[in-house]
């Protein structure tokens, strides 16, 4: 299924996705109502929690950063018609890259060099976790959906093993590494503002947000302004015609999955270098899966992904506020909303097309046929 070619683009790209989103929120509101709470109060609590309180916007943008990375990761694979469900595992492995670089080098070389190495580490380790399923798809014909799911679980087992047995801080009970040395990591925005003499409320928002924006622009350039991007999109459009036009399908698939994995790996930069300052268990917290919803909603375009990430950032941050304000709804409500968004914006994305086409043709059809 693809966009309808009867209705104009502003309807299929602008109005229908918004209406799908609206439907997802309506059903979410229905659930809140059934639980016995006021859905409008829940919305106002979430909006206040994500934008109004001091530091709220910082938290929202901090989550947004994660979703931009995973959303772009999923979107790039989508452009080649590959479904990368493995963002979660790739981000987790990215964390291993960050952790290893910091633990190995932070005693010997300057902090900012370690930080650069760690960022490279996150991209490379994430990329490796994308390349293997990519290779298996390209050369051995294994379905990428299944292999990336399997690789999520393998990554989780690997990280638990390493964190519990190998790189745990000695004498520690909880599975975490030691703190990275001071000077390693990305500066948080409120510290930066303080340095510049501004007063910004404390939040975990850090320079990774800037990286995310730069990467988004790079994504746009790569996909729509380079030969490689053209190859990726033509592969996504039709593998047969890609082959006939001389595109090397296998290597394109592998490179796409490498970049996709590397993008997902950058989540570790935001989480570990920007906030936690150490490698810890489960820091990916489902961001990889949310990336799928983000890519679907953002229609695989960086600007759409930015807006979708902002929405999910606000949902995550606003969701934590639900815990304080309500006794019977909690932040897990956000998971429910997320599931509904994936359902309506993803699986049911074209449900409304026939209806809209019918209405459109009824009112404007005569002009087009003339």
């Amino acid at each position: 299924m693809s966009d309808s070619n009867i209705i104009p683009k502003w309807l299929s790209v602008g109005v229908i996705p918004l209406f799908n989103l609206f439907l997802a929120f309506c059903v979410s509101g229905l659930f809140i109502f059934l639980i016995g709470e006021n859905p409008f109060k829940a919305i106002s609590v979430m909006i206040k929690g994500s934008f109004y309180y001091p530091g709220a916007i910082g938290y929202t943008l901090y989550y947004t950063t994660n979703f931009i990375f995973t959303g772009l990761a999923v979107a790039l694979a989508f452009h080649a018609r590959l479904f990368n469900i493995g963002g979660e595992g790739q981000a987790y492995l990215g964390g291993l890259g960050v952790g290893l670089m910091c633990l190995i080098f932070d005693q010997y070389i300057a902090g900012f060099l370690v930080t650069i190495l760690a960022i490279l580490g996150s991209v490379i380790f994430g990329a490796v976790w994308g390349i293997i399923p990519g290779y298996l798809q390209a050369k051995r014909g294994s379905h990428i959906v299944i292999t990336t799911i399997m690789f999520n679980f393998i990554a989780a087992a690997l990280m638990v093993y390493l964190l519990v047995n190998v790189i745990i801080e000695p004498g520690q009970m909880s599975p975490e590494t030691r703190d990275f040395a001071t000077g390693v990591g990305l500066v948080q925005i409120h510290m930066l503002a303080k340095y510049l003499g501004l007063n910004v409320a404390m939040s975990p928002l850090n320079l990774s947000f800037g990286i995310a924006l730069i990467v988004s622009i790079g994504f746009w350039f790569l996909v729509w302004r380079t030969k490689f991007g053209y190859e990726v999109r033509s592969l996504g459009h039709s593998e047969t015609s890609a082959v006939y036009s001389g595109i090397k399908v296998s290597s394109t698939i592998i490179i796409v999955m490498a970049i996709s994995g590397g993008l997902a790996g950058l989540v570790a930069v935001n989480e570990l270098l920007g906030v936690h300052n150490k490698l810890l268990l489960g820091f990916t917290a489902g961001y990889g899966f949310t990336g799928i919803a983000v890519a679907l909603m953002g229609r695989n375009h960086p600007f759409g992904i930015f807006l979708a990430s902002l929405l999910f950032g606000a949902l995550y941050q606003g969701g934590t506020e639900l815990d304080f304000e309500f006794s019977s709804i909690t932040r897990e409500m956000v998971l429910l909303i997320q599931g509904l968004i994936i359902l309506f914006s993803g699986a049911l994305a074209y449900m409304l097309n026939p209806l809209v086409e019918k209405i459109y043709l009824k009112y404007y059809g005569n002009f087009n046929n003339a």
Binding site: I146, T147, F151, L336, G346
Partner: protein, 324 residues
């Protein structure tokens, strides 16, 4: 000697307990995928039905009603899946993923709203669960050396759903390979145009298949919360749906090999738990995570064609439309 026999018997016993939900879900996966519908949503359906089973049983006091409620819930999830990817020709993987995330959020949210126990349901008493069944004549045959113990521990003494899961395998085999319905189901998954040309509704066949899959996932969920366990705990399916998916691929979409794949994966998990903290001769301590990762690694290796070749049904993942 006696000790190692005891060890093997207890390992086999836990293998069967662990494999049961995998078997139900893998059979569900076979029904769905043989008809051409990818079913990533096994996990979510199992989680949802586990929650509904525990809740309905707690409210009514009857595990039978709980079981039916679980099947109903799981089938509703199947219908959402069908509505999205059969009727509206949406992406099957996305739809399955939506069901998984939806189930995750829904069970916790409803659990907290209903019971205020952080997402858990209240514990169920033994009269509200499917309890182990002791086979007759246990005492009479206990004198037989190996077989007596084997019979008492491994074959007897499970709850009824364990035996139903074995029946489900034969049911799946029989329906898919020995009935007209099964022939059509396989054809719909391989060449839907051909079935359509023969005057059979592809849409109807696919809906029927995913409803059967829904029923089987409902049984899996009920097993988790009102038979094997005594109540629902958040995220209690814990990736079992994905292991079942792996087992189904490992069994090459065939019921009997899939049964053995489920038993193998169950055995690996049981072994992993048993080996935790044990020093083995020559090897040393085997990390439990290796055992946990092994089913996934094996499936990847199989899919890559290094041990045999797993071929998915021909029309899998492709929505059917008459215009082509």
């Amino acid at each position: 000697m006696l000790e190692s026999l005891q060890l093997i018997i207890s390992l086999l016993d836990s293998t069967i307990r662990i494999a049961t939900p995998l078997i139900f879900c893998a059979m569900a996966g076979i029904f769905s995928e043989r008809s051409g519908i990818i079913d990533i949503g096994l996990e979510g359906k199992m989680l949802l039905s586990a929650f509904v089973a525990a809740t309905a049983t707690f409210l009514t006091g009857s595990p039978i009603l709980g079981l039916f409620a679980a099947i109903l819930a799981s089938c509703s999830a199947s219908l959402i899946h069908g509505f999205a990817c059969i009727t509206n020709k949406g992406d099957q993987v996305i739809s399955g993923l939506a069901i998984n995330i939806l189930a995750s959020g829904l069970t916790i949210t409803l659990g907290i709203a209903l019971f205020s126990r952080g997402g858990q349901t209240p514990p169920l008493g033994s009269e509200q669960r499917f309890m182990p069944i002791e086979f007759p004549f246990l005492d009479q045959i206990s004198f037989i050396p190996v077989f007596g113990d084997l019979f008492a521990e491994v074959i007897s003494g499970h709850n009824v759903l364990v035996y139903v899961s074995i029946l489900a395998v034969f049911f799946t085999y029989y329906v898919i390979f020995k009935t007209r319905f099964g022939l059509r189901l396989r054809a719909v998954g391989e060449k839907p145009e051909a079935v359509d040309t023969a005057g059979i509704s592809v849409i109807k066949m696919r809906y029927q298949s995913i409803l059967i899959a829904g029923m089987l996932c409902g049984l899996a969920g009920a097993y988790l919360s009102i038979a094997h366990g005594a109540g629902f705990g958040r995220e209690m399916s814990a990736g079992k749906g994905y292991i079942a998916l792996a087992a189904m691929i490992f069994g090459k979409w065939n019921p009997i090999p899939t049964l053995f794949a489920c038993l193998l994966f169950g055995f690996l998990e049981a072994l992993g738990v048993r080996l935790e903290g044990v020093e083995l001769l020559w090897i040393g301590e085997v990390p439990v995570q290796i055992m946990q990762a092994l089913p996934y690694v094996l499936t990847v290796v199989l899919l890559a064609g290094f041990i045999g070749k797993a071929r998915a049904p021909g029309a899998i993942g492709v929505p059917y439309s008459k215009e082509g």
